[in-house]
Amino acid sequence: MTGFLALEDGTVFRGDSVAAEGFAVGEAVFTTAMTGYQEIVTDPSFAEQLVCFTAPMVGNYGVAEGRSESTRAHARAVLMREARGPAWTDWLHERGIVALSGIDTRSLVLKLRDSGAMRAVVVAGGGSVDQAVEVARAQPSMAGRALAHEVSTARPYVYSDAGRTRVAVVDYGCKRSILRRLAGAGAAVTVFPHDAMADELMRFDGVLLSNGPGDPEPLEEEVAVVRELLGRVPILGICLGHQLLALAAGHETFKLPFGHRGANHPVLERASGRVLVTCQNHGFAVAPSDAREATHVSLYDETVEGLDFPLEQARSVQFHPEAGPGPHDAWPIIHEWVEEVAYAKAA
C-alpha cells in the first residue's frame, strides 16, 4: 500500500505504508538521532508531531518493552527512508501509527530546514492530495498550543518509594528515563499531574519539572506554580521544564524555525568551557541571553541551554540529561542534583 505526506505548502512526498492504514495530522519535524527510534516515538514531547528520521534505516534492531519512554506512542506518524521490519513495523501497526517508508527524507529535511517545521498530513492508503493539504492548513500552528494536559498523568502516583530524598516530578509529558535516572541516583520519586498545586509540591525535598510537548507560553498556570515554588524548594527543569522556569524567571521563549531534535547537539558549559554532546528534542527555546544565570549555551544557535539561580536553588537544562536516546554525557546533572537535594535536606 502506498501513502504520502502533504505539507501545508502543497509539497508532497510519496512512500509505502508500512504500518497502520489511515491518516495522521500534525507538525512535520525531523530528528537526526541515529538510534533510539522506539524511545523517540514514545517520547510524549513528540505529541501531535509527524516524525521524520534522518537515519537512513529505521527498525534494524527490533523493539523491546523496556525501551519505551511512556505507556504509548505519542508521535502521530513516522516517516522513513527505509523501514526495517517486521518487529518495528508490527509494533507501529499495533499502536495504530501511520508510517511511511521509501520517503525522500533528505529532501523533506532540507525543505523543513529552509522553510521551518510545517503543518502536514500523512495519508496511508488512498486519499486526495488537495484534501490533505487543506486539512494540513486547517490545523492550528504549534505556536501557542498547550499540550501538556493531553499527555500528563491524570493523578499523582509513586514511581519509587525508597530513597534518601523525596523528589516530586511534575509531569508535563515526562520520559521514563528521567524517573529512572532520579531513582537510580537514590531519590524516592512521586509523579504529579501538570496542574499540581505549589503547596503540594513544596512538601518534597526537590521538584523536577519534566519535559513535554507544545509551546510553553500558554502554560500560564504552570508558570505561576513554578514562580511560587522559586526559592522555596530546590528545582530542576528539563526541556519544557527549563522553558517554564525561564518564563517564571522573566526570560523569553520563542518558536525555533525547525527545532533541535537529535543526539549530537553540542552545548557549551560556560563556567568550565566544556562541551556536552547532548540529546535534544524541542521546538521552542529560551532566547539567547548574556545574563549571568544562563549557564549553558547552544553552540548551534546560541539559545540558552541552561539556567541557574543559586539563591533560589533552581536550575534547568534545555537538553535531555537523562538521554534515552542519546549520549550519557549529561547524566551527572541529574545525579548531582539529587545529591544536593539530599544534602540540603540533611543540613
Binding site: 530546514r113 568551557g273 562541551v275
Partner: protein
C-alpha cells in the same frame, strides 16, 4: 584554549612506504595536518621516505626530508632542523614507534623537542599490553584475558575457548583456536616447538563476537566527541582491515550503542589521550552484551581515514589542531562552515567498505583470513541503504573475477537477512520505471542487471534512461541536512531529488581516479590525480574528482572543486559526466582503471582531454604498436600473439627462447612469466603476447611529457635488477649510471619520436632494454606511470603539472621547464615487498609485480643513495658478519666477483655445495653448509639463518615453489629478517653499496631543488 604560542616549528613523521596495513591513509592524514599547521603559521618539517606521497611535495611543508624512517634518519633531521615539537600521530604505527624510540633513547630530550599529540606515557599505555590492560581495568572494563606460556605445566586455569599465538613465527604459524583441554595441550605443544624462543601467548577467544570500532576525538578540556561508529560484518577473528565494515553501526540499540560510547570515552581518558584522535576496537558478545576492549590506537588510523570519508569529519585536521592547543569548540567543521568540531557527525546514508586482496600474486600463500591483515587496498561505497552501499563498494573493487566474498555464518543475523536476496532472472522489456528505481535503490548496477537479463550494459542503460530513471546526487555534510553546508562532497542514489549546484562559469574537467589500491596500481596514481586536480584548478577549470578509495588524498573533499565518491564504472562515470558536462575527461592519471572506460566515454560523446584514446589503443594493441615501431624504424623484441599452445610453440620457436608471456591490458605484470623452454609453456587459454625475453639487458624507464609536437624527457631511469624482474619490484636509479652519452641521446630521441607518432598530449612512459649497441622498446604507455612521483621529486620538475598544462592547450615551449637534474646527485627508488604476510608464497622477485610500496633516497653518489634506500625499505645492508650464497648455475661465474668483494670487506663466506665449489675454485675462502634436503650431519643453512648466524643471504632461484631448498632458505631469511637478495644484479648493487657508501648529511627536498635551479641557471 587557543593555539599554543610557545611552539613555532613542528616536525611531522610520515608512515614510509606503503605496506599491508599502512597505506595512503597516512598521506591523507599528513597532508591535512600540514595544511592546518601551516595555516596557523607554524614552520613545518616533514620526514617520510615515500616519494609517492603528496605530503612530501615540496610545497606542503617548509622542509621535506625523504629520509629513512629509522632512529638514525629522523635523529639527523631533528638535529639539523631543531623543531620545537614532534607530531607522531599522523604517520601510523611507524611514526608512533619511532617517536617512542626517540623518546626512550633520550634524543628528544637532548634536542629539546616536545612530543605533541601523544606524549610518551600515552604511547606506552596504549602499546604495552600490560599497561593497557591495567588502564582498562581501572575504569571497570575488560580486555581479553591472556598469559604467556613457556611450558605445558603453565596451563592450569586457562579459560576456553582460547587462541594460541606462538611468538616470532611467520603469519602466526603454529597457532590456532582451541576449544577443549586436549586441543589446548596439543596446540600449545606445537606452538612451543614452532616458536624460536619457545614461547606462546594463550588468549581468551572472542572469536565470533561482534566487532565494533569507535573513532574518538578528545581535547585538553576533556571534551570527547565520537566521530563515527564502524561495525565489522565479519565478526571477531578476521582483522578489521580484511573485514567488510559498515558505518554507522547497524545492529545495536541506542542503549547498547551508548554503552560502547561510554566505554570508548572511558578508555581514551584512562590511556590519557589528551589532544587528538583515537580508534578503539571492541568485541561484544551478541546475547549477553559483554564487552572486551581489543585495542586502542592513540593516533589517526586506517579506520579514522575511513571514518573521515564516511562522515566528512576531518579527523586528522582536527587532531592536528588539538595537538597545538585548540579545543573542540574552537575548531570549525569546514564541511558545514557553521558548526564546531564538537558537533558529532550524524549520517543520513550508509557507508560500506570492502577490502581488496591480491592472493593471485602469491601462489601457495594461505588465503584464510585471520588476525593478520592481508588485504592490499579497499573501496568504499555510499548509499542511502545498506544494500545500496554494500553493492557499490563490492563492485568498486574492480575485480577480475577471482575474488569471492561470502557472508560468515557467524555474522549478525541482520546482515543475513539484508543479503538474503540475490538478483533473479529479469526480462528487460518488462521493466518499468518503478522496477528500475527499486532495483537501483537496492544497489544493482546496469552491468549486474545486464547479466540477470541476458543482455548488455548498454541495452540496460538505454532502457533505464528511456524510463526516465537517472541517479541523483546527495551531499555528504556530516549533519544529515540539519544545517546548511557548503560541502562539495557527493554520492549518487536513486529516486530522490538532486543536490548538485547549478553550473558556474568555469569549464570543468572530470578526473578519473585509480580506485582501490592494488599491487601495481596504488598511491603513485593517486598522487598524479591529486596533482592533476591542483593543476587544472590553477588553470581556471573546476576539477571534478571521481574515486572510491577512502584512503586517498584525492578523495579529500578539499582536493577538488567537487568530489563524487562513486565506483569507477562506466555507468557511474557517464552519469557524472551527464551532470557535469565537462570540457574534458582526464583518463591518463588514474592508472589502468580510467583507460577501461575511455572507449565508452568517447562513444557517448565526451571528450578525452589530452592524449586521445586511440593512442592508448595503439600502444596497447601489439599489432598496431608493432606496425608503428616498424614504420618509425624503432626496434622491439621479436614477438607474436598466440591463442593456443600450438601457436605459442610455433612463435617461440620462430623468435627463440627464452620468451615472456603475458596478456595485454595489464598493470603490474599480472600473470606474466618467463619460459626458458617449451616445457615451461603450460596451457594457453586466452590470447597472449609472446615477446623474446632479452636477458642481461639494462632496463630503462623513461617518463616524459609531450604536447603532440615537442616532448620533454623528464627522467631516464635505470633499473637495478635485470630484465625479467618487474619494473615495479626493481630498484631504480636516476640518473642512469650505465648509459653512455650516445645511448642516453638515442633513448631520448626514441621517446620523442614515439610520443609524437602516438600523438601524446600529456604523459608518456616508455620502457626500454639496452643490450650492447642495441636499444629495444619494450613498451610505451601514454599515461602516468608509477615512477612519475619519484622522477618529479628527484628532478624538481612537476611532470603532472606540465602534462595538465599541455592538455589544457599550452605548448611545451611556453612552460620553460628546466632540464632538472642535479649533477653529482643520485636518487634511488627501492621497492618494498609484502612477503612476510604471505607464508607459503615464494619470496623471490620475478616478472609478476608484488611490491606494495616504494622508498626514495638521494645522495651524492650511487652506493650511498642505494644503501640509504635499502635502509629506508627496512633492509639495512650489513657491514660485516657471515654472508650466505647459493646461486643457480647460470649465475655461478658472476657470483665470484660479488663474493670476492664481500670477502675483501671482511665477510665470512658460507655457501651450499655447488656455489661453494665455484668460489673455492676461484680461490675464495668459503665454508660449505648443507641444504635441508642434503644428507649429512651438522646444521643446515636454514638452521644457520634461523639462529641469526647469517647477516646477508644471496640466493638466486633455480625454480620456485614451496618445497624447494631455495624456498626454505628464503623463507628462513624472511622470518629472521635477514636481507635476502634473489637476483645477481641486485646482489652486485648491494655489495657495491656496502663497500662504498659514505655517511652524508641529509638534505631537504627544498634545498636539493634550489640546488638544481641554481645549477640550471649556471649552465
Amino acid at each position: 584554549m587557543p593555539r599554543r604560542h610557545d611552539l613555532e616549528s613542528i616536525c611531522l613523521i610520515g608512515s614510509g612506504p606503503i605496506v599491508i596495513g599502512q597505506a595512503c591513509e597516512f598521506d591523507y592524514a599528513g597532508c591535512q595536518a600540514l595544511k592546518v599547521l601551516r595555516e596557523d603559521g607554524f614552520r613545518t618539517i616533514v620526514v617520510n621516505s615515500n616519494p609517492a606521497t603528496i605530503m612530501t611535495d615540496p610545497g606542503f611543508a617548509d622542509r621535506t626530508y625523504l629520509e629513512p624512517l629509522d632512529l638514525e634518519g629522523v635523529t639527523d633531521v631533528l638535529a639539523r632542523e631543531r623543531p620545537d615539537a614532534l607530531l607522531p600521530t599522523m604517520g601510523g604505527q611507524t611514526a608512533l614507534n619511532l617517536a617512542r624510540e626517540l623518546a626512550l633513547e633520550g634524543v628528544l630530550e637532548e634536542l629539546g623537542v616536545e612530543l605533541i599529540g601523544a606524549p610518551l606515557d600515552v604511547i606506552q599505555r596504549a602499546e604495552d599490553r600490560e599497561l593497557f590492560r591495567t588502564a582498562v581495568r581501572e575504569v571497570g572494563l575488560q580486555v581479553p584475558g591472556s598469559r604467556i606460556v613457556t611450558s605445558l605445566d603453565e596451563l592450569g586455569g586457562v579459560s576456553l575457548p582460547a587462541v594460541i599465538r606462538p611468538a616470532f613465527t611467520l603469519g602466526g604459524h603454529g597457532g590456532g583456536f582451541v576449544e577443549t583441554v586436549d586441543q589446548l595441550h596439543r596446540q600449545v605443544e606445537r606452538g612451543l616447538d614452532e616458536s624460536p624462543i619457545r614461547q606462546v601467548l594463550v588468549e581468551e577467544s572472542v572469536r565470533g563476537w561482534d566487532e565494533f570500532e569507535l573513532e574518538v576525538v578528545r581535547d585538553r578540556k576533556d571534551n570527547v566527541v565520537i566521530v563515527c561508529s564502524i561495525e565489522n560484518i565479519d565478526p571477531m577473528g578476521v582483522h578489521t582491515g580484511d573485514s567488510v565494515t559498515v558505518a554507522p553501526q547497524m545492529t545495536l540499540s541506542d542503549h547498547a550503542y551508548q554503552e560502547l560510547r561510554d566505554a570508548a570515552a572511558a578508555v581514551v581518558r584512562a590511556v590519557g589521550v589528551e589532544c587528538g584522535g583515537s580508534n578503539i576496537q571492541f568485541a561484544r558478545e551478541r546475547d549477553t552484551g559483554e564487552l572486551r576492549v581489543i585495542e586502542m590506537n592513540p593516533r589517526v588510523s586506517r579506520s579514522s581515514a575511513l571514518a573521515s570519508k564516511a562522515t566528512g569529519y576531518p579527523i586528522a585536521k582536527v587532531a592536528a589542531k588539538l595537538a597545538v592547543g585548540y579545543t573542540l569548540d574552537e575548531i570549525p567543521n569546514d564541511l558545514t562552515g557553521t558548526t564546531p568540531a564538537s558537533f558529532e557527525p550524524t549520517l543520513d546514508y550508509v557507508v560500506v567498505k570492502f577490502p581488496r586482496f591480491a592472493f593471485e600474486k602469491f601462489p601457495g600463500a594461505d588465503t584464510t583470513l585471520g588476525t593478520q591483515m592481508k588485504s592490499v587496498g579497499e573501496a568504499m561505497g555510499i548509499g542511502r541503504t545498506f544494500l545500496e552501499a554494500f553493492r557499490k563498494a563490492r563492485r568498486s573493487r574492480e575485480l577480475d573475477g577471482s575474488e569471492t566474498w561470502e557472508l560468515a555464518e557467524s555474522a549478525h543475523p541482520w546482515f543475513h537477512v539484508e543479503l538474503a536476496n540475490e538478483l533473479q532472472e529479469l526480462s528487460l522489456d518488462d521493466l518499468v520505471a518503478d522496477d528500475f528505481v527499486r532495483l537501483k535503490r537496492s544497489g544493482w548496477s546496469d552491468a549486474e542487471l545486464a547479466i540477470a537479463s541476458g543482455t548488455t550494459d548498454d541495452a540496460v542503460r538505454a532502457r533505464r534512461r528511456s524510463c526516465g530513471v537517472r541517479p541523483s546526487y546527495r551531499r555528504v555534510d556530516s549533519c544529515a541536512g540539519e544545517v546548511e553546508a557548503a560541502s562539495t562532497y557527493y554520492y549518487s542514489t536513486w529516486g530522490e531529488a538532486d543536490e548538485t549546484p547549478p553550473h558556474g562559469e568555469k569549464p570543468r574537467v572530470v578526473i578519473l581516479g585509480s580506485g582501490p589500491n592494488r599491487i601495481g596500481q596504488g598511491i603513485e596514481f593517486d598522487y598524479c590525480c591529486v596533482h592533476a586536480a591542483q593543476s587544472f584548478r590553477r588553470l581556471g577549470y573546476e576539477a571534478v574528482m571521481v574515486n572510491c578509495n577512502p584512503e586517498t588524498v584525492s578523495t579529500d573533499y578539499d582536493t577538488s572543486d567537487r568530489l563524487y565518491f562513486e565506483p569507477l564504472g562506466l555507468e557511474e562515470v557517464l552519469s557524472i559526466c551527464e551532470r557535469e558536462k565537462p570540457e574534458g575527461v582526464a583518463i591518463q592519471f588514474g592508472g589502468q582503471t580510467p583507460l577501461k572506460l575511455a572507449r565508452g566515454l568517447e562513444a557517448a560523446g565526451y571528450r578525452i582531454i589530452g592524449t586521445p584514446f586511440d593512442a592508448v589503443d595503439v600502444a596497447e594493441d601489439r599489432e598496431r604498436f608493432g606496425a608503428l615501431l616498424d614504420r618509425l624504424g624503432v626496434r622491439c623484441p621479436e614477438w607474436g600473439i598466440a591463442r593456443t599452445e600450438t601457436e605459442a610453440r610455433a612463435i617461440a620457436e620462430r623468435i627463440g627462447y627464452p620468451i615472456l608471456i603475458r596478456p595485454s591490458y595489464v598493470l603490474g605484470g599480472r600473470a606474466m612469466r618467463v619460459c626458458y623452454s617449451g616445457d615451461d609453456l603450460g596451457p594457453i587459454k586466452s590470447p597472449v603476447l609472446i615477446d623474446r625475453f632479452i636477458e642481461s639487458a639494462i632496463e630503462i624507464d623513461v617518463d616524459a611529457v609531450s604536447d603532440g609536437r615537442d616532448t620533454y624527457v623528464g627522467a631516464v631511469m635505470q633499473h637495478v635488477e635485470e630484465a625479467g624482474v618487474h619494473s615495479g619490484d626493481s630498484a631504480c636509479v636516476l640518473p642512469a649510471p650505465s648509459l653512455a652519452p650516445a645511448q642516453d641521446a638515442e633513448i631520448r630521441l626514441i621517446v620523442r619520436t614515439l610520443a609524437q607518432a602516438l600523438g601524446v598530449v600529456g604523459l608518456i612512459n616508455v620502457q626500454l632494454a639496452v643490450v650492447e649497441e642495441n636499444i629495444y622498446v619494450l613498451e610505451a604507455n601514454p599515461r602516468a606511470s608509477r615512477t612519475v612521483p619519484f622522477a618529479s621529486k628527484a628532478t624538481g620538475v612537476n611532470l603532472v603539472d606540465a602534462a595538465c598544462r599541455v592538455m589544457a592547450g599550452a605548448r611545451l615551449s611556453e612552460l620553460a621547464l628546466s632540464q632538472g637534474q642535479s649533477l653529482g646527485h643520485v636518487s634511488v627508488k627501492a621497492a618494498v615487498l609484502p612477503f612476510a604476510r604471505f607464508p607459503g608464497a615464494d619470496p623471490v622477485l620475478g616478472p609478476e609485480m608484488r611490491a606494495t610500496g616504494e622508498v626514495m633516497a638521494s645522495a651524492a653518489d650511487l652506493p650511498t643513495a642505494f644503501a640509504k634506500a635499502e635502509r629506508a625499505a627496512g633492509r639495512p645492508l650489513p657491514t660485516g658478519g657471515t654472508a650466505f650464497l647459493s646461486v643457480r648455475d647460470a649465475d655461478k661465474q658472476a657470483v665470484v666477483k660479488v663474493a670476492g668483494t664481500l670477502a675483501e670487506l671482511g665477510f665470512k663466506l658460507v655457501a651450499t655445495a655447488g656455489t661453494a665449489q665455484t668460489l673455492a675454485a676461484a680461490g675464495l675462502d668459503v665454508e660449505h653448509v648443507r641444504k635441508v634436503t642434503e644428507e649429512g650431519t651438522g646444521p643446515t643453512v636454514v638452521d644457520l639463518i634461523r639462529r641469526g648466524r647469517c647477516k646477508l643471504v644471496i640466493n638466486t632461484p633455480h625454480g620456485s615453489g614451496a618445497r624447494t631448498d631455495g624456498y626454505l632458505i628464503r623463507e628462513a631469511a624472511l622470518v629472521a629478517r635477514v636481507p635476502c637478495i634473489t637476483t645477481l644484479s641486485g646482489a652486485a648493487a648491494a655489495v657495491h653499496a656496502i663497500a662504498n657508501a659514505r655517511s652524508e648529511e641529509s638534505l631537504s627536498l627544498q634545498e636539493l631543488q634550489e640546488r638544481i635551479v641554481h645549477e640550471t641557471r649556471a649552465a
